[in-house]
Amino acid sequence: MKTAKQLELTLCPKCHKLNSLKAEPQQCSRCNGMFYQRKRNSLQYTLAWNFAALLAFIPANLYPIMIVYQLGIGDEATILSGIGEFIDHGLYPIAVIIFTASIIVPLLKIIGLFVLVYKVHTGIRLKPDKHSKFYHMLEVLGPWSMLDVFVVALMVTVVELGFVTSVAAGPAINYFTITVIFTMFAANSFDPRLLWDKKADNKIATQALLLSENSPGTLPEEKG
């Protein structure tokens, strides 16, 4: 299967028009946007955003995310303790939804992108079809982690009954939104085409290796 890169063609990421590559950055002949054949320094950017997200994820879990004041007494809850409260109250579906959205998805995204970057960099056990599906899933799941932020925002607004009950957002909410947004940036800066490029490179390299091992003494056989 031929790729656009092999034929010195390049696809505009915005309007999906094929351009013949002249210079990088290339100007798209259809939408006039400037772009590169592959996302620029894709792996480095992904790694950098990923580390930042991981760092922000630590205070996001340690600090309280929501403080419920009842008759002037504050009750702090972190993300995990909030989920624990749901389980105590028997609200299992909500507990599962919140746990998925605010713990599993960010962690899965961060770890998953680390793994993808590692695989692209080293080319070890690379399965581009599966990995690109995995990447696509990460991309789609991304925004859903914002769930917790919206829930807290709504609680703060709706439960505002002065001294009787009120809800305040804790400092963790800022760190948590930073985590989510950074993982979205990280996913955006990863280029799934690198997976296929690396696989193709690997194939060529192993073929060359096989040929060079066969070559001493005898003539190399022609293999597809």
Binding site: L7, K14, N19, C31
Partner: protein
């Protein structure tokens, strides 16, 4: 093959860069990549009409969805209700600027801009008022693809209702209905918009760069 290949006869996969001959599709058909399974080209049914109508409806529903109270609580004889707009005011009032910004951006500003953008684009196509500026406009429109989070906000409403229903008296207002309809309209207008068709038409209308390319 060399650089003189006619690029308009080929199409490459966005996810894996595989190259194919451009398929001729009828309305409602879509072409998928053999290698990675992502969609190559899609020709949507009645794209312009549908996205025009959905985005118009969405813009009409915007005001009630934002201004009408979504839900209210009663506790110890006190009643308090809040709309999406109140949400932002209260958050600013109490000093949570960052969440206020985020809610405003992801649940109000981006959806509105996307709806207005879809309306403008489909309006220009519907009444044949194509301008070269549409190229830049539509390109900018794609920047917002990932950042509309009305669906997430909707789930947030559901979750916080579950939370509140336990120890308060919860009342649901007309704002919730308007918000759900707004969510449906904005999703449908984004889904109905046929990007490939729009780009093809824009290219045909303003292909001066193409001509320059062939001359050089």
């Amino acid at each position: 093959m060399n650089n003189n290949t006619n690029t308009s006869l080929l199409v490459a996969c966005q996810q894996c860069d595989a190259l194919y001959d451009r398929p001729q599709l009828k309305q409602g058909q879509l072409a998928k990549c053999n290698r990675c399974g992502s969609t190559l080209i899609e020709r949507k049914v009645d794209s312009i009409e549908r996205s025009f109508n959905w985005s118009l409806a969405g813009l009409l529903l915007m005001l009630p969805a934002i201004l009408l109270p979504i839900m209210g609580v009663t506790l110890a004889g006190q009643f308090h209700q809040a709309s999406l707009f109140d949400c932002i005011l209260v958050l600013i009032d109490r000093g949570f600027f960052m969440i206020a910004c985020l809610v405003f951006l992801f649940a109000i500003a981006v959806p509105i801009v996307r709806l207005a953008g879809a309306l403008y684009i489909s309006y220009s196509f519907k009444f044949n008022k194509l301008k070269p500026s549409l190229l830049n406009f539509f390109r900018a429109y794609h920047h917002l693809d990932n950042w509309a989070m009305l669906n997430v906000f909707m789930l947030g409403i559901v979750v916080s209702m579950y939370k509140l229903i336990d120890d308060t008296e919860l009342s649901v207002n007309l704002g919730l209905l308007a918000f759900i309809l707004w969510l449906i309209c904005s999703t449908m207008s984004a889904v109905a918009l046929d990007q490939d068709y729009i780009w093809d038409k824009l290219e045909q209308a303003f292909s001066k760069d193409e001509a320059q390319d062939e001359n050089s």
